[in-house]
């Protein structure tokens, strides 16, 4: 069953601006790729592309989760901290006797739980997602720091295989990213849950009026975000071979920029996982290119911030107020099968 809202969905299925934006990231990524390939013969080599794919896989995985969150007009700033804490919890249990084979599952469950905690505060208590995840960003990292004594903790092969292992000679990070992206795409487009997510993002009041389980879906969305952060943790900490207290710091900014760049609107209602992946690819290529060209790292930070603000301006459709109880004008809703 689908609902169409006259006067509302018209703006949400591909206005020119949004279609352009979604294809923009594709075009931009292609342009950057071609430019870098021309500039350096080593850029387009198989091993270099493989490197870029591996290096971007952590962010790519988190971008899938973040896409869900931003479609509901929310935001999750705590993913870097969850990346750290989920692995930290599992690592500490391992040090105290948990068999290494179980550790990745434990890390993933931690991620799910930490994300669900965010979601519950947002959905059931009603606190603004920014405030909740800003608070948990500090809280989770602090807890992880205490757990690990702020020191480097080496990880067993059972955990590092997500970073350094291979599956049929394809590097594990790429496989994990591909699987997560695929599953995420299917869930978003083909399941009832995914449709609910989009409906809530488009108009939460209407969704509520239709009887959608808004609160449960919101918890689910943030739980997914935490889940993907845990996977990213397995990848990135696995690649390092050790868990370090500053891992993932600030990565949420790259992920959010990638998702917005990919066409997902911060106002909610529409999003594309594929677009988010292209966003990650683009940012990763630019970051690597800048380092190769010996350009100051501050340029990337500045670039990333500018990209975000431009993407926000360009992707504008309708202003959605922060108020929870909007003043609803007389509006015609068409409800039907």
């Amino acid at each position: 069953m689908s609902a169409t809202f006259t006067g509302a969905t018209r703006r949400y299925t591909g206005t020119l601006g949004e279609v352009l934006l979604r294809n923009t990231v594709l075009i931009a990524a292609a342009v950057v790729f071609v430019a870098f390939s021309l500039a350096s013969s080593k850029f387009a080599s198989g091993s270099n592309l493989r490197n870029i794919a591996i290096q971007g896989s952590g962010s790519a995985v988190m971008a899938v989760g973040m896409t869900f969150v931003i479609i509901t007009a929310g935001i999750d700033l705590s993913i870097g901290a969850i990346l750290f804490l989920s692995t930290a919890g599992a690592a500490e249990l391992f040090v105290h006797g948990l068999p290494a084979a179980w550790a990745p599952l434990v890390a993933v469950l931690f991620g799910l739980g930490l994300g669900a905690l965010n979601g519950a505060s947002i959905a059931f208590v009603g606190i603004n997602p920014l405030i909740v995840t800003l608070a948990t960003l500090n809280l989770y990292r602090g807890v992880g720091g205490h757990l690990t004594g702020f020191s480097t903790v080496y990880l067993p092969p059972g955990m590092t295989k997500f970073g350094t292992g291979t599956v049929a000679s394809i590097p594990a990070p790429i496989v994990v990213a591909a699987v997560v992206a695929l599953v995420g795409g299917v869930v978003l487009r083909r399941t009832v849950f995914g449709r609910h997510v989009q409906a809530i993002g488009a108009n939460v009041e209407a969704a509520r009026n239709l009887g959608l389980p808004v609160r449960r879906v919101l918890v689910g969305v943030y739980a997914i975000s935490g889940l993907t952060a845990a996977f990213a943790g397995l990848i990135e900490n696995g690649r390092l071979g050790a868990l370090q207290p500053t891992v993932g710091l600030g990565e949420e900014l790259t992920v959010i920029t990638a998702v917005v760049l990919g066409g997902t609107s911060l106002f909610g209602g529409k999003g594309s996982i594929l677009g988010s992946l292209f966003g990650v690819a683009l940012l990763q290529m630019v970051a690597d290119g800048l380092v190769l060209a010996h350009i100051s790292p501050y340029v990337f930070d500045m670039l990333r911030a500018s990209v975000l603000i431009v993407a926000v301006l360009v992707g504008t459709s309708r202003a959605r107020s922060l108020r929870a109880v909007p003043i609803v004008r007389r509006r015609r809703l068409e409800v039907g099968p």
């Binding site: 490197n51 290096q55 391992f94 040090v95 080496y154 990880l155 500053t246 010996h294």
Partner: protein, 329 residues
């Protein structure tokens, strides 16, 4: 007549002023205790900071000095407030690792005004305040020691020069010290500089990409043991990881001397580690505070621990007292 909230504010302010006046009349605050108390303010907590804190606490215990400890979580404003609280608690002295060398000066001057001796360790403060001791490592010297060690190997080396955060004076010092000393050594050639912002993932990606762009790299200067897991993982990922003694071994020299560096030396992954003698920071600072005389600027030289001198030297390196955490390979 007056708005309700203005009334509220005036009442609150009046009550507050009254309270302050009463207390001012009543007490001069907590009497400074008989035991000397030193307020220790750190910028952050990590492996090396914990070793510095241990050094301070052990020496303080020996000298019967009490320690108040605070961590500022990389927030210079927090640190300023925490030191201000120490001052109002009438500590005998303050030891600080500055989050920001220039922004700590106002805290130093506040301590000067209160007549409380101030010592800075690990990070040098900016100008403008009077300290009784400034005990730091020698970043320039340590960087030079790395270059000198590499030179002593007497084989031509193409070096990947990793750099820490560009806002960290220690990182800049280590880089510059290396570059200056390397100029005098014909066998060292710096092939690429890699800023890492002290971030392990950035270092991992950067080193991997560096080998991609410059396959001739056969030596790495890693300015901190914190980035060692990243360096080792990058070497493994690019099939350049061979232990010391192997013909294809990539020479790796680091700085800090923490438990991971010591472990890496013991297991023959790296060639040398210039250890910062953090154990000496605390005692120097505490002595200076208790003596409360004119300023002492002490640059504690690093101690090179290498494959060659491991047996003789490792007991003097702070990190070797601990093993690595977690899974031991």
């Amino acid at each position: 007549m007056l708005g309700k909230h203005i009334r509220l504010m005036l009442i609150a302010t009046a009550a507050g002023a009254l309270a302050v006046a009463v207390i001012a009349a009543g007490s001069a605050g907590a009497k400074p205790s008989a035991t000397p108390t030193i307020g220790v303010s750190f910028d952050l907590l990590n492996q090396i900071r914990k070793a510095e804190l241990t050094g301070i606490k052990q020496y303080a215990a020996k000298k019967h000095v009490k320690i108040l400890f605070s961590v500022a979580n990389n927030d210079a404003n927090q640190q300023s407030q925490q030191i201000q609280n120490f001052i109002s608690q009438h500590v005998t002295g303050v030891i600080a690792i500055a989050q920001n060398g220039d922004q700590i000066v106002s805290s130093i001057r506040a301590a000067n005004r209160a007549g409380i001796p101030f010592a800075t360790i690990d990070r040098a403060p900016g100008k403008g305040g009077k300290v009784v001791a400034q005990v730091t490592g020698n970043a320039l010297g340590d960087g030079a020691k790395v270059a000198n060690y590499m030179c002593s190997l007497h084989k031509p080396l193409n070096v990947l020069l990793m750099v820490g955060a560009l806002t960290d004076a220690n990182a800049i010092g280590r880089r510059d010290g290396f570059l200056t000393a390397a100029k005098n050594c014909s066998s060292i050639k710096v092939v690429q500089q890699l800023p890492t912002n002290w971030d392990p993932t950035t270092a991992l990606n950067g080193v991997t990409n560096a080998f991609q762009a410059h396959p001739e790299i056969d030596a790495i200067f890693d300015p901190s043991d914190y980035l060692l897991p990243a360096v080792v993982s990058a070497l493994k990922a690019t099939q350049h990881f061979y232990p010391v003694g192997n013909a294809k071994h990539v020479t790796v020299v680091t700085i800090d001397g923490d438990n991971n560096g010591c472990y890496a030396l013991r297991t023959k992954w790296i060639d040398a580690d210039v250890a910062t003698q953090v154990g000496k920071f605390g005692p120097s600072a505490i002595d200076a505070i208790l003596a409360n005389k004119a300023a002492k600027v002490v640059k504690v030289p690093g101690l090179t621990l290498s494959q060659q001198n491991y047996k003789a030297t490792h007991s003097s390196v702070w990190g070797c007292a601990y093993g690595p955490n977690g899974f031991k390979k």
